[in-house]
Assembly symmetry: C2
Homo-oligomer: 194 residues x 2
């Protein structure tokens, strides 16, 4: 998605060979016009797939996901992230390890809002090792719902989360795929995914 790649080039901050900071339009300050375009692009890529719910993870997933949900005309559910959790009734959970924050969170969704009749589009801001998305898939599939696919704003294609998910048969649509962050430079992947 050209508009997103342009924004990453202009405003993204390469902090290391592995870390891209996009605090100015996605993770702290949010560009609502870009989010609307991103949401529209997800909606168009998953059009006709019978999506009934969009699921994301707080907090950075919410802005692009609510825009996609608006255009798809379905509810959004944002999973909650908690450091530790006393087990509570009616909550579906998954443990998610964050490599950047070096901590494990319990990610939860109320079983009231996703069920076996649902076809779910999972949306997240970043895909790196795929831990967060794997957690969301686990929760959604616990309900018996179908995961129609995964929409990612920025995929770090040099890490293996996307590869592993695609190998498992999930459709992953990433709007920007970064091949490398070496030498302080963002290089996008030209790879065609089928």
């Amino acid at each position: 998605m050209k508009m997103l790649e342009k924004k990453i080039i202009e405003e993204g901050c390469v902090l290391s060979d592995e870390v891209l900071k996009v605090d100015s339009f996605l993770n702290h300050q949010v560009d609502p016009v870009l989010m609307k375009e991103v949401g529209g692009e997800f909606a168009s890529r998953f059009a006709g797939k019978g999506i009934t719910k969009v699921v994301t993870l707080e907090s950075s997933g919410i802005a692009p996901a609510v825009m996609a949900a608006l255009i798809l005309d379905v509810p959004l559910i944002f999973a909650r992230k908690r450091k530790s959790l006393t087990l509570k009734d009616g909550l579906l959970t998954a443990e998610v390890y964050s490599f950047t924050k070096e901590e494990t969170n319990t990610v939860t969704i109320s079983e009231k809002y996703v069920n076996e009749k649902d076809t779910v589009l999972i949306i997240d801001d970043f895909l790196a090792n795929g831990q967060a998305v794997e957690g969301l898939i686990s929760i959604v599939e616990q309900t018996g719902a179908l995961v129609a696919g995964i929409g990612i704003v920025i995929e770090k294609a040099f890490q293996d989360g996307g590869k592993l998910l695609r190998e498992k048969g999930y459709r992953v649509e990433s709007l920007a795929r970064i091949k490398s962050l070496k030498n302080g430079r963002v290089e996008f992947s030209e790879e065609v995914l089928v």
Copy 2:
């Protein structure tokens, strides 16, 4: 706002005289169409006030705030909430005590994204004791920016956050004002605020 009041009556869950759960459209599952209407209502109430930034607090504030920011055509900044925080350069902080969660969080915004030239609309999902909004005001005013007003989705008017903010001279626009949750019933306030 009638559409919101209707939704609260139909789907809100009165858990006690003080607690209203709106997990089905605002705090966990999110109704994107309602959020668009809510955002539009905030934008229209603060039209012509020269708003340059919308500021909210993760996570439940993000969906209504990004819709308001889209219509006002300005960036959104969502403040981060952290249990404890080693002081970091470039972060503006405030301590916010949550009565519902019985914990104190450090709320932060990067000083890169709000400055003394800004006119800020603060948006949050709930207003009860006003702790979260007071924290956001404190951060915004540390930068020298002007707080043009506060947009609240649901105000618990039987708690004193709104009263205290209005007494200090802040313009608070709440789209639903709840007078009482007694006897498991939601009663809206008819009070005219000037």
